[in-house]
């Protein structure tokens, strides 16, 4: 069965969805998503601590997408969004699950997988050391990304990442990342 982005997206959208978006991830879209989630938390009367954690993690998720999304051939997505990404936030018991999705070229899979596996293998103390090392020794990229996003998310959530790469064509995969905030 070939990969269909709309099926994939609708499959993620069940009754516990708090917020979902797919399309171009621009700075304005990030503003809108952050504003909606803040409103949603007020509506849900969400606990202040959870609110703060979710907001922080969501900022990093969205900005990770913003900084890392690759230009993908249009015939692949069937869409004109060249900064295509998706985010779905689901209520998961007392916490939340954030799922992000974006296309990656096959060459990017190994470094990404290695990085996530490494982060998943570390304890909280090791993550703290890794964070401080990158903070103090690595320069910001021209785009403003710092290589700290995933480490920061892992520290703040205290949970392991779940992920999958789904083959879309010879050169491209769809990367799905699940983040649990509890």
């Amino acid at each position: 069965m070939s990969f269909n982005i709309d099926d994939f997206f609708s499959h993620l959208n069940n009754s516990d969805v708090v917020l979902s978006f797919k399309g171009n991830i621009t700075s304005e879209i990030i503003n809108n998503i952050l504003e909606s989630i803040e409103n949603k938390f007020v509506e849900l009367n969400e606990d202040g601590k959870v609110r703060k954690k979710m907001y922080n993690v969501l900022v990093e998720c969205l900005q990770n997408l913003y900084h890392h999304i690759e230009d993908i051939p249009h015939d692949l997505t069937g869409m004109n969004d060249n900064k295509f990404g998706m985010v779905v936030i689901i209520r998961n018991g007392t916490g939340y699950k954030i799922t992000t999705g974006n296309f990656v070229s096959s060459g990017k899979i190994k470094p990404l997988k290695d990085k996530i596996d490494k982060i998943n293998s570390l304890s909280q103390d090791e993550l703290k050391d890794m964070y401080k090392f990158i903070l103090n020794h690595q320069k910001l990229t021209a785009k403003g990304g710092g290589g700290l996003g995933l480490v920061d998310i892992a520290r703040k959530t205290g949970n392991k990442f779940e992920y999958a790469f789904q083959n879309v064509s010879t050169d491209y995969y769809f990367f799905k990342l699940d983040i649990y905030v509890s």
């Binding site: 952050l34 922080n56 903070l135 700290l148 703040k156």
Partner: protein, 125 residues
């Protein structure tokens, strides 16, 4: 020297750097996609201030949220303050965090361990 005053936005903090008072203040949210652009004038201002600082510089950092892109720029700000501290001038750093915001307290402790100026951790109740 001219003070540096920047109004806060949804993604960038309120900035009040006043050389005549020896005051360095950053308050609000710092979550821009590209933080270098925002922080460059702050770091440049501190560079100039460090040449002739007040006997005491009071630093108030009160952030509600900051992203990882900003975290490196905030470290650059602290590194400029470290220069002043090393020149035997007093630098008082007040790191504010909201009640129960352990992540923000921990972030302050991370910076404190890197730059070696004692921080005063102040809980906002």
């Amino acid at each position: 020297m001219e003070p540096l005053l920047i109004e806060g936005t949804a993604k960038t903090p309120n900035v009040r750097f006043d050389g005549s008072q020896g005051l360095v203040e950053i308050k609000g949210r710092s979550i821009p996609e590209n933080s270098i652009e925002f922080y460059k004038p702050l770091v440049d201002w501190l560079d100039r201030y460090a040449q002739n600082p007040k006997q005491t510089t009071k630093v108030n950092i009160q952030l509600e949220y900051f992203n990882t892109s900003s975290s490196k720029c905030i470290l650059d700000v602290f590194k400029k303050l470290e220069v002043i501290h090393k020149a035997n001038k007093e630098v008082v750093i007040n790191w504010y965090y909201e009640e129960d915001d352990e992540d923000m307290l921990e972030a302050g402790e991370d910076y404190e361990s890197i730059i070696r100026i004692p921080f005063k951790m102040i809980e906002i109740v």
